[in-house]
């Protein structure tokens, strides 16, 4: 009985859709960075929608053709716009998005440093 249960669990595990493809880490990495345009807040990796399945087929083909991740993202961006990728490409339209966190961190660091220095200065006086 136990053996039958184990065989059944292994069968269910192996027959899960997408198991064979998504087990390849390079494909999974690409799928995770692609937004499913017809789903609510899901990546292509998470979705089993018709659109996500087709995108997976195309990405798999392009990986087999030897295309790099960057080339695959560029191709899909040319077809669907930048919205298709979760990690946007750095350009003049979104440079603030990339630069602002570092700028805030830098300015915040200086701000905290000045406060600490002022507090210490006041204590010594």
């Amino acid at each position: 009985m136990k053996i039958k249960t184990i065989i059944f669990i292994i069968y269910i595990f192996l027959s899960t859709p997408g198991y064979s493809n998504e087990n390849q880490p390079e494909l999974l990495e690409i799928y995770k960075n692609l937004r499913c345009l017809v789903c609510q807040g899901q990546s292509v990796a998470d979705s089993n929608s018709d659109f996500a399945i087709t995108i997976k087929l195309v990405v798999e083909d392009q990986v087999k053709e030897g295309k790099t991740n960057k080339e695959i993202y560029s191709f899909l961006i040319s077809k669907y716009g930048e919205w298709i990728v979760y990690q946007p490409v750095f350009n003049k339209n979104n440079f603030l998005l990339w630069v602002l966190p570092y700028a805030v961190l830098f300015v915040g660091g200086i701000f905290i440093f000045l406060i600490i220095r002022k507090t210490k200065h006041n204590k010594t006086n």
Binding site: T54, V58, D61, L76, G81
Partner: protein, 174 residues
């Protein structure tokens, strides 16, 4: 009154956050690709639905001033509602050619669909696994793309054609 710099920074930060929040509320969150015009379509090869030996490629689109590429399927209800506009457009064959791409469908069902509603297409191709649709930036059907003879996308119609879009196409090809 002495103005504290910390208070100014906090005040500016709150105003900035509220502005971002306000802009976010006003923004339409439903993304579609209808504004992605001006791009060139990729090279493709499309087999005829009933004959694998017949096919068209991007070179065939250069022969006409305008080509409307329409993705349809027999199982797609909105495709039925837009079909009358495609039939009307097919009467302007000297100005526009219409390519139908049958999307993830059964051959017999697609043929019956065209027999029942009429065939407005100059060529009916098949996209059995959906890969062709990705070359055209399609993410749901029906969708139509109007391209000129330079293979540049002039107009994208996401969803079924309606009277307004039909008139817009007529204005473009006039």
């Amino acid at each position: 009154m002495k103005i504290n710099i910390t208070q100014i920074i906090i005040f500016c930060f709150i105003i900035f956050s509220l502005l971002i929040f306000w802009q976010g509320l006003k923004k339409d969150n439903n993304y579609d690709t209808k504004n992605l015009t001006g791009t060139r379509i990729s090279n493709f090869q499309l087999s005829e639905i009933n004959d694998d030996d017949k096919y068209i490629s991007e070179e065939d689109l250069k022969k006409n001033s305008y080509t409307l590429i329409n993705f349809f399927a027999s199982w797609c209800a909105p495709c039925r509602s837009e079909h009358k506009y495609l039939i009307n457009l097919s009467s302007k064959k000297n100005k526009i050619q219409i390519i139908g791409i049958n999307f993830k469908d059964k051959k017999n069902n697609a043929n019956n669909f065209l027999k029942e509603l009429g065939n407005p297409y100059n060529f009916v191709g098949k996209d059995t696994n959906g890969k062709i649709s990705i070359l055209f930036g399609i993410y749901g059907i029906p969708e139509s793309i109007l391209v000129n003879n330079n293979l540049t996308v002039i107009k994208k119609i996401v969803g079924p054609l309606d009277q307004i879009q039909y008139n817009e196409i007529l204005n473009i090809i006039r």
